[in-house]
Amino acid sequence: MRSDVLLSVRDLRIAFDGIEAVRGLSFDVRPGEVLAIVGESGAGKSLTARALLGMLPPGATTGGEVRLLGETDLAAQRGRRIALVPQDALSALSPVHPVGDQLAAAVRSVSRVPRKEARARAVAALERVGIPDAARKARAYPHEYSGGMRQRAVIAMAAINNPDVLVADEPTTALDEERRDQVLKVLAEQREAAGAALVLVTHDLDVVREHTDRALVMYAGRLTELGPAEEVLTRPLAPYTAGLLASLPQNATPGRRLPTLPGTPPTPGVLPPGCAFAPRCSLASDTCRHEEPEPQQVDGRLVSCHHWEDA
């Protein structure tokens, strides 16, 4: 195995009732990197993130393989070497236990340290995410925390066992810019302190530009393109990525209608033959309508498109 690969995803397939929502996805996560996963609603981002944690919803059948440093039992590694930063901090914490106890329990779930030491680590972890008077706050219940503090507490909990990978699914969606930046700052600090990689699912392309190293763009359960975030966002190779960027208001003429992708997102199970994006793509050719494009290397990036040179 190559040492620059921490997590490897190979031909991942996730289906419900025989209908594939993730359709053969392969990518790597490198040690310490921040990888963004972007793509249209329903593209399979959350399912992919959950597959990394070995926590797919009931009824899901899977194919392919996810390996964390060679290990395939991801569920057994959850909380140890890979951890989830939940989107909804309130529902991620138990309302009936003090926050500090919940962090201490996370410590004791992976290592047999004495209660007292686990509690001390919990307080230190809360301190590290900037919770004032952490020793006292550790004894408080989630409802006694402000929304922002709760969010920091769940980040502290995810990072408390120094995982190799943190996975966050839309941790900042619908937060205003100030709160968004606070959450991302705390997340970055904790990630650096743990030396962990971060897989960040987001639809906020400003976040991708400013806070991530590489971007994986998904469409209809497949890889559309993958490359350095800055390059993907400034010189997209795939028509879908170009359309996504064009729809940003900061790239549009005020007062005019925003450019949109024509048509509607594909429905799993009733995909067109060939490239799933073809019905919405201005470059679609007969080849596109018959052959599904496979990822190919272009300048150290990956793109799945028959006509990337024209995009």
Partner: protein, 225 residues
């Protein structure tokens, strides 16, 4: 100048000792989009709720189509309510999870006595078509729609009341960029065709700059620009 659609003067909303909205004044004309921009907790949504009289303000005036709302009884407000409709952020939360889209859009027509067995279903189909939803989606439940489709259904339901003012509270904040662009374009088209006034609450500066005619910045309950 003609009467504004909405004229708010010295609006104050308090929650206990906290003043969430502090002497806020603005006016809005038909066909115009006025944005309220600011961080969470600055009083944007409290202003929206007070304008809609979902929460009665502690003081100040809210004049809608020339009528002062704050002094009206709930009963007097009832015939005016359909003309000012909210659209909220969470597209799924704003529709009842157990009602089919068709019934959600039909409900205002029925409540307002504008439903007939012949005309009602046609009107629902027309409204769904108007917001860019195939009327076949009427059969679905909210969770069987994507976020963008669900937000369109919410807009169709608001339009069923023949409103003059839409109070849009973070209507696109939960949507991805390409879907968001489609919903913003739809709102712009509806405004052009129907002359609606929009009070547009949004924390995303780029969206606000693109979409609004005028922007008011709010901080700590006050308008600062």
């Amino acid at each position: 100048m003609n009467t504004p659609l909405l004229d708010v003067r010295d609006l104050v909303v308090r929650y206990g000792a906290v003043t969430a909205v502090d002497q806020v004044s603005f006016s809005l004309h038909s066909g115009e989009t006025l944005a309220l921009n600011g961080p969470s907790g600055c009083g944007k949504s409290s202003t929206a709720h007070a304008v809609l009289q979902l929460r009665r303000p502690d003081s100040g005036e809210v004049r809608f189509e020339g009528r002062e709302l704050t002094t009206l009884t709930e009963r007097e407000l009832r015939p005016l309510r359909p003309r000012m409709q909210p659209v909220f952020q969470d597209p799924y939360g704003s529709l009842s999870p157990r009602h089919r889209i068709r019934d959600a859009v039909a409900e205002p027509l029925k409540v307002q006595g504008r439903w007939s067995r012949e005309g009602g279903p046609d009107r629902v189909a027309e409204l769904l078509d108007r917001v860019g939803l195939d009327p076949a989606y009427g059969d679905r439940l909210p969770h069987e729609l994507s976020g963008g489709q669900c937000q369109r259904a919410g807009i169709a339901r608001a339009l069923a009341s023949d409103p003059r003012l839409l109070v849009l509270d973070e209507p696109v904040s939960a949507l991805d960029p390409s879907v968001r662009a489609g919903v913003l374009n739809l709102l712009a088209d509806l405004q052009d065709d129907l002359g609606l006034g929009y009070l547009f609450i949004c924390h995303d500066r780029a969206v606000v700059r693109h979409f609004a005619d005028r922007v008011l910045e709010m901080r700590g309950g006050r308008i600062i620009t």
